[in-house]
């Protein structure tokens, strides 16, 4: 037996013993995810136990080094763990922008002290982070952001506004892009970590077309941010004025995360199953040939996309960085998800447009369908991703 086979056997045994039965009902919808943080109330004992056990094992962040709360797994072991989790339909133990976005940026650009201070509480789900990137006048053109951060000698003074801050009203800390040099564009931005409890920070939820409010506006009014949170623990990641590099690196992770619904935005019933129950099958074929063709085309593209995610991850495990291809994953994954929800609505018909449907497979569908429209906007619009592919992958010239 190879080491990897042994790892698979041990992992399977450990999961069978330690994953509570209630947590084996993936895939994850936004409502099922445990987001952790100081203000989190566990929905059940099982949810708490699952997080605690996985965190103790380092498996909320399996590839992070052990000293930062991970398990130090190599890419092949991490893949096996993911496969074994999928095999038992396990929920993810912890949803976290700290894990998906800030963590990778800190691992790449942070000092050892910053990592030691910030990463373990992320891994254990003790601190919940949100992301302050977009501003009212800096959406797709993110680099024109204006949120001001002034050097006051022993501290930073932050004034400005962020928008589309996911779950800012429930987060403990925010990683944010601020302007430290108004005179230059790309090279006047810094990547700053702020405690949301700091005086002058306030949030206001934004009600979306789905009726829900996963996003907020976040305001900074004369917010005093210490230069350091302890010896060697700067509040700025990377170099002052060079936060754009960190921001871009983080965006590639955000894009990869959104591409497979890591944010929990996807969910929803399986297409074929949803259609078979409503339309019926005759002679082995779904009775409505138009719907059948649409489902099969979408399943084809979805499967080929899934294989592409696998391939790019396997290639990066072999040292070929995914680079700007994360834009392809973001673009294609989110467009697929929008197609999927449009098709679910088509199939569901009148069932699907009832806000308060109590059907097991259609309850909440309308809200999730509407939420999916944002997938191709957040984290850089589809058009921005196509720009990135055109310029950075294909090498096409700028206008």
């Amino acid at each position: 037996m190879t080491d990897l086979d042994a790892f698979r056997t041990q992992t399977r045994a450990w999961l069978s013993e330690n994953c509570p039965a209630e947590m084996r009902d993936g895939p994850d919808g936004e409502d099922k995810i445990c987001w952790g943080g100081q203000r989190w109330t566990f929905k059940s004992d099982a949810q708490r136990i699952w997080l605690e056990r996985m965190a103790a094992k380092g498996w909320t962040v399996p590839t992070w080094p052990e000293e930062y709360g991970g398990a130090g797994l190599g890419p092949e072991e991490a893949k096996i763990l993911a496969q074994e989790l999928a095999l038992i339909d396990a929920r993810i133990p912890l949803g976290s922008f700290g894990i998906w976005m800030l963590g990778p940026a800190l691992l790449r650009y942070g000092t050892h002290e910053q990592k030691l201070h910030f990463l373990p509480p992320i891994a254990r789900g003790e601190i919940r982070w949100c992301q302050g990137y977009s501003e009212p006048n800096a959406g797709s053109d993110l680099v024109s952001l204006q949120c001001r951060c002034e050097d006051k000698g022993d501290h930073w003074l932050v004034n400005g506004q962020k928008v589309w801050t996911s779950y800012a009203d429930e987060a403990d800390w925010i990683f944010t892009l601020v302007r430290t040099d108004p005179a230059s564009k790309h090279q006047g931005i810094s990547f700053l970590l702020i405690d949301m409890a700091q005086e002058g920070v306030s949030t206001r939820p934004i009600k979306l077309i789905s009726g829900k409010s996963p996003f907020c506006e976040t305001f900074f009014d004369d917010v005093v941010v210490p230069k350091e949170y302890g010896a060697g623990i700067s509040s700025i990641v990377g170099t002052v004025d060079r936060g754009w590099d960190v921001a871009k690196y983080l965006l590639t992770h955000e894009r990869e995360m959104i591409s497979d619904g890591g944010g929990g935005a996807f969910g929803g019933p399986g297409l074929a199953e949803f259609a078979i129950g409503r339309i019926g099958v005759s002679g082995g074929r779904l009775s409505d040939p138009m719907v059948r063709a649409k489902i099969a085309q979408l399943e084809l593209d979805t499967r080929a996309f899934g294989l592409t995610v696998d391939r790019l991850r396997d290639e990066s495990a072999r040292g070929r960085d995914m680079g700007a291809n994360s834009s392809m994953l973001k673009y294609y994954g989110t467009e697929l998800n929008k197609r999927r929800f449009e098709l679910l609505m088509d199939i569901g018909g009148a069932d699907a447009v009832e806000w308060d449907s109590d059907l097991e497979d259609a309850a909440g569908l309308a809200a999730t369908w509407l939420r999916s429209k944002g997938n191709s906007i957040e984290g850089g619009t589809s058009e921005i991703q196509l720009n990135v592919i055109a310029k950075r992958v294909l090498g096409l010239p700028s206008a």
Partner: protein, 379 residues
């Protein structure tokens, strides 16, 4: 298994690219087409490819092959797709070597595989009869006569049919057209009495044939696999063929895309490089995504064939469907983005569009594959 090429497979790609660039670039295919000698040239080229071990890439070592596997065969097919190199690679090295190597009798293997590996025998698969690929609707009859069979009927769209020394013929030996069972595969000498091979000019200038069978006599020794149970064999080899064609389509699509991107970087209009226009950039970027998805689906299918041949059907179907659609789009965009020059015979993109049209049709177009995918999923 990681969805990447191994170092050996990467090396094979490099050497294939080197050889084809020298011995069989697109200009070579164009010249053969202009001089109307694609067939003869294919045979010459095939001997050279055989000497590199390509003809025997799926043949066991005991019969003179290299047994390099389907991923390696796909790498070669993809590279040939890039250069539009006309050869009987898919019909012989992929389909026939698979059919005989996996399902043939000891005698058939010993007789045919060494000749295939040496590039001395060319085989063609005769399956289709109508305008569309419908393997379940086979109507060519094989009636029992004495100790053997008598075959009557007609096949069409037989790739490499005019070159072939041997034919693999799918015929109905029991039941009626539409039945899943009752198919028998025969391995016949192309010059056997009663076989008439009529060359057909296809849009891609490769050779193909209509083949008529009039009281063709076959013995039990000519049967490939089991009598009346050849359907499974046929499905198996068709799947391998689909994966090979998908790889070729992927290569052809990628090459026409690369040529188009180069054009976008050089062509000037309105005082600017046209590749700076967002309308074209977004279409190119979208096509890039589709080609990347194709690449993944193709490699997966080839790996599945190597891992578990009998279970690889769905992956091959997926690859052929995706490759057919993406390559068709790549061809359309190549002509449109080149503008008028793309409509001229002088430019290569037209050659790619023609080959893609034929290859996406062969052994089932995307609609055929998608229907099968849905059926396999219970809808």
């Amino acid at each position: 298994m990681p969805l990447t090429l191994t170092d050996d497979q990467e090396m094979l790609r490099e050497s294939a690219r080197g050889f084809l660039g020298e011995a069989a670039p697109v200009s070579c295919f164009r010249r053969q087409r202009d001089e109307n000698r694609v067939d003869a040239a294919s045979r010459d080229l095939w001997r050279q490819m055989a000497s590199l071990g390509w003809a025997g890439i799926l043949v066991d070592e005991e019969f003179g092959g290299s047994q390099f596997g389907f991923v390696g065969a796909g790498v070669l097919a993809e590279e040939m797709g890039r250069t539009l190199s006309a050869s009987p690679f898919i019909s012989t090295a992929l389909l026939a070597a698979t059919a005989i190597g996996r399902f043939g009798s000891a005698e058939q293997k010993a007789r045919h595989l060494p000749l295939i590996a040496a590039g001395e025998a060319i085989h063609a698969l005769a399956v289709d009869e109508g305008a569309k690929h419908r393997p379940e609707a086979i109507a060519v009859r094989a009636e029992r006569a004495g100790n053997g069979f008598r075959i009557n009927g007609a096949k069409r769209f037989v790739a490499d049919g005019t070159l072939a020394d041997q034919l693999i013929v799918a015929a109905r030996s029991a039941g009626a057209a539409g039945d899943a069972g009752g198919i028998t595969l025969f391995l016949l000498d192309a010059k056997a009495p009663g076989i008439t091979i009529e060359p057909v000019r296809l849009v891609d200038s490769r050779n193909a044939a209509r083949i008529a069978f009039a009281d063709v006599e076959a013995t039990g020794g000519d049967v490939l696999g089991e009598i009346d149970a050849g359907g499974d064999v046929l499905h198996g080899i068709l799947n391998a063929g689909r994966a090979g064609l998908a790889a070729e389509l992927s290569g052809a699509a990628q090459q026409s895309f690369d040529v188009t991107i180069d054009y976008l970087k050089t062509r000037q209009q309105f005082g600017a490089t046209i590749g700076s226009f967002q309308a074209l950039q977004h279409r190119a970027a979208y096509l890039y995504c589709e080609l990347q998805l194709t690449r993944s689906a193709v490699l997966h299918a080839l790996q599945e064939l190597d891992r578990d041949f009998a279970a690889a059907g769905p992956a091959c179907t997926l690859a052929k469907a995706k490759a057919g659609q993406a390559a068709t789009l790549a061809g359309l965009e190549a002509i449109q983005m080149h503008g008028g020059i793309g409509m001229t015979d002088e430019h290569d993109v037209g050659l790619y569009v023609k080959r893609i049209r034929v290859a996406q049709e062969l052994y089932g177009d995307p609609d055929f594959q998608i229907d099968r995918l849905a059926l396999a999923q219970g809808y």
